[in-house]
Symmetry: C2
Subunit: 155 residues, 2 copies
C-alpha cells in the first residue's frame, strides 16, 4: 500500500523551477525597464525577429498564451511604432506583424541586455551542461503539453 508521494520543498524540481523563473524574470525586468520594454513585449519582439509576418494567434501559440493576451502586447508595441501590421489583408483575418526599423534597433539593445543576464545565470555551467539543461527543459515542456486533438489515444 505505497502512499502517493507528496512534495518535499527542498527536493522539488517544480518549486526550484518556479524560483528560477521568478529570479530570471526579475533580472530581465531590471534590464528592460530602462528600455521601456516589459518582458512580454521583449519576448514578442524576439519571436518576430526570428520569424516575421506572424499573426497574433501564431505568436500566442509560440509563447503559450491566449491570442487575447498577445493582442494586447502587440497593440502596445504597435502604438509605440516598434512594429507594423497591415490595416487590411487579402485573405482571412490574420494580420502578419513585422518589426519596424525602430523596433529592430530597440530589440537589438534589449537582446544584448537579456543575453548578458542569461550569461550571468549560466555562469557556473559549462557548454555541455547548458545544452543538457536546455534539452531537459524542453522535455519538461513537452511532457506538460496538454493533450492535443491529434494526439494518439484521442482517436
Amino acid at each position: 500500500m505505497a502512499q502517493p508521494r507528496t512534495v518535499d520543498v527542498d527536493r522539488s524540481i517544480g518549486l526550484a523551477l518556479k524560483r528560477a523563473a521568478v529570479s530570471l524574470n526579475a533580472a530581465m525586468e531590471e534590464e528592460l525597464r530602462p528600455l521601456g520594454l516589459t518582458v512580454s513585449q521583449y519576448a514578442c519582439l524576439e519571436q518576430l525577429r526570428r520569424r516575421p509576418e506572424q499573426s497574433s494567434a501564431e505568436l500566442a501559440r509560440a509563447m503559450f498564451v491566449t491570442r487575447q493576451s498577445m493582442n494586447e502586447v502587440l497593440r502596445g508595441l504597435q502604438g509605440r511604432g516598434l512594429l507594423d501590421r497591415p490595416e487590411e489583408v487579402d485573405r482571412g483575418r490574420a494580420r502578419g506583424a513585422r518589426l519596424t526599423g525602430d523596433g529592430a534597433a530597440l530589440l537589438q539593445r534589449a537582446s544584448r541586455a537579456v543575453a548578458a543576464v542569461e550569461d550571468r545565470m549560466l555562469d557556473a555551467l559549462g557548454t555541455p551542461a547548458r545544452d543538457r539543461l536546455h534539452d531537459d527543459l524542453e522535455r519538461c515542456i513537452a511532457a506538460l503539453r496538454p493533450p492535443q486533438p491529434g494526439d494518439p489515444g484521442a482517436a
Copy 2:
C-alpha cells in the same frame, strides 16, 4: 571586435525556462483549483509544513517575494482557517504561523496532486537527470541572486 551576443529564440535557456515555468504553473493551477487553492497559497502551506512557526517575512524570503505579498497570502489562508497566527507575541512583532488540522489535511491532498504533476513533467527523465536538473536550477538561482550586503566586494 566581437559583438556582444544576442538571444536566439530557439537556443535560449532563459526563454525555455520561462515556457517551462508557465506550463508547470498552468498544470498546477488546474490541479489546485478544485481544492480552492492558488499556487502561491499552496507553496506557502508547503513551506509551513516543512518548517512551522515562520513569520510572514521569513516565508517571503523563502519564496522570493515581498513580505507584503506574503502577508496577503497568509491572510487568505488564515481567513479560511487553514493556518493560525497568534494575536499577540512575547517579543518583537514577528507572528509565527502554523498549519491548522484543516490546513494540514488540505495540504496533504494538494501536495499529492502537485507531486503527480511534477512526476508527469519529469516522466522522460531518469533519477540522475532529475538530480542534475535540480542542481543546475539551484545554480542558476544562486547566480541570479542580487548582491547581498555581506557579499565579498561590497566591502
